[in-house]
Amino acid sequence: MTPRAPAAGDRFGPYGGRYVPETLIAALDELTAAYRDASADPAFAAELRGLLEDYAGRPSPLYRAPRVEEAIGAGPVYLKREDLNHTGAHKINNTLGQALLARWMGKRRIIAETGAGQHGVATATVCALFDLECVVYMGTEDVERQALNVYRMELLGAEVRPVDSGSCTLKDATNEAIRDWVTNVRDTHYIIGSVVGPDPFPRMVRDFQAVIGEETRAQLEAAEGRLPGSVVACVGGGSNAMGIFHAFVPFGDVRLVGVEAAGEGLDSGRHSAPLAAGTPGVLHGSLSYLLQDADGQVAPAHSISAGLDYPGVGPEHSWLLDEGRAEYVTVTDDRALAAFHRLSRLEGLIPALESAHAMAHVFEAGAELARHGPVVVCLSGRGDKDVAHVARLSGTEADE
């Protein structure tokens, strides 16, 4: 919309910004200053590193997947095992960082939105750890799809507030979380779960997730003595993708491949692929690619995976797309489901349905990708939370 210099201030090229109610400006200024000061404080970095290692279990392994290589007839293929983190996904990297920041700012109340429930669980977890009040907004459709995670959050002491407006999914949970923040901004910090929202969230969440790519680079250097040829990650809001991409953005030879959810197919209109099939627009505080209709109303998203079921995407991905630095492909519900089963059988790894989208692309295009060098896939989460849902889809009743 309004071209600016690349990655200047609050923007990535034209994308990003702070399109929020006036009430939040002071809080965003406060957060920006706190993040700047904390980033410069060695004690903050040391405390976060300690928690990531001793509490979350980092570094996560980089696992070479021989049976995937055999299946696609090429290699090497490595899986970055974010599924092994505490709470089962990459989300904990961000929530630990933001909880420390909340404490830094003296805010005792935390709110969050969640789709699949992974970010909600990761937030509830750190709130238990730091003794913070925690409210998680979750669409009623997701509450149903992810009942086990709802109970997990409650076990951890969080209050889960179902949201039944709009499409009753992640987008609407985010609206409601922003409404809460506008209302309780003085004592509340909003832990956004992805690289979305108004500045500084997209760059701050990316920085907290960048540990994924930094570790990957060092681990692959140790194993192969070189950079990856390609890095593949699923993209909903896009935090695991930005986290693993970030370290490699300066290396133009490394292909960065984001995989969006094509749902029932891009032509069906029922998908969650704004980078592939959307246009730039403003939702939840930033300008980025967006699913919308001709009148600028946000179009409902669809994906088999609650974590990808979102009509927007992080502004930095929009910038990487326009710049041609990253490429974005799509995977349908059916292909993701097939990859979910296939990786389970091949490697004994049950992936989250989100991560199964990235795996599906590797099963399909892995041989071609491997010609550029080692393929690294971000296995962003484990599939325990999806087992009951997949069983239902397969016509089996699995007791949660």
Partner: protein, 296 residues
């Protein structure tokens, strides 16, 4: 859901649309009458297109000084449940940005009450920023208030929105720094809109006690630009309290609540009752409202 909806057909009297009274004239008139301006809000397309046109006319006839006309949006994240509901209903009925301008054109055929369009950025981006800025003026709007474009967030965009004469109305929150208020007043057009509390739109049983003092502080920095107050004002008694300190009083969710209960007549009655308490040295405001307040 709302794909491709373009709203009602353009109304036949669009060519005759007037331009409406300026905001400055309006506030000058209110000042001369020693009263605050009454500014009711309505979501365009609520309960449907034709009825919202009738509601607009009724509000103007009942004494509204300025009308805030909401452009419905699918994700109204600064709005409480009442205005959310009215927005969804308007969109389900096919209301759109173009349709909102059509309703405004039809209203202009018989009324010169100033209108401020109220909404969110994305439908404007989709419409085309320059196209919208021009079309809104041509349709007879005086101002534009976008809740998700805070002052200075996108200077080039803000300049383009104002290029054809729309007053960009700025929201000031209790959390807004004094420095920002001074900057907004310096660039300010039309009026400044003080949000009565941190939070979203919606009726409240009670206003905060510090409100009067805060409004006075904003007025001291406003450099003569009128300061109106909105969010949460739901009864004539509350409106009277605010009218005593502010240059204008915005009432939104409470009107839509009233419309849900009592229809167009109830809205007109309510606007007339609110108008009756705008006078600063007039009769004492009623001690309590005729209806129980509805906490949002």
């Amino acid at each position: 859901m709302w794909h491709g909806c373009r709203g009602p057909k353009p109304m036949s009297d669009r060519v005759h649309a007037g331009t409406g009274m300026s905001l400055a004239q309006c506030f000058a008139g209110c000042r001369a009458e020693r009263r605050a301006a009454l500014i009711p809000f309505l979501t365009c397309g609520y309960p449907d297109g034709p009825q919202s046109l009738e509601l607009l006319r009724g509000m103007a006839d009942a004494g509204a000084d300025i009308i805030e006309l909401g452009i419905p949006f699918s994700d109204p994240l600064a709005d409480g449940p009442t205005i959310q509901r009215s927005s969804f209903r308007a969109l389900e009925g096919g209301m759109s940005t173009e349709g909102t301008l059509d309703v405004l054109r039809a209203f202009r055929a018989g009324h010169d009450t100033p209108v401020v369009l109220f909404g969110y950025l994305n439908p404007i981006l989709r419409y085309g920023v320059d196209e919208f800025a021009r079309a809104a003026i041509e349709a007879g709007a005086q101002g534009l208030l976008l809740t998700d474009v805070p002052a200075g967030s996108d200077p080039v965009l803000e300049k383009r929105l104002a290029a054809h004469g729309l007053a960009l109305i700025r929201l000031i929150a209790p959390t807004t720094s004094p420095e920002r208020i001074t900057v907004m007043a310096g660039a300010g057009a039309g009026f400044l809109y003080y949000i009565s509390r941190t939070g979203i739109t919606g009726a409240r049983a009670q206003l905060r006690r510090a409100l009067g003092r805060e409004v006075e502080a904003v007025k001291r920095r406003a450099g003569g630009i009128p300061v109106v107050v909105g969010f949460g004002i739901s009864t004539p008694a509350q409106a009277a309290d605010v009218a005593a300190v502010a240059d204008g009083v915005v009432v939104g969710s409470a009107l839509i609540d009233r419309c849900e209960r009592d229809g167009a007549e109830g809205v007109q009655e309510f606007v007339a009752a609110l108008r009756g308490v705008m006078q600063r040295d007039g009769p004492d405001p009623p001690a309590t409202s005729s209806r129980p307040p509805h906490p949002g």
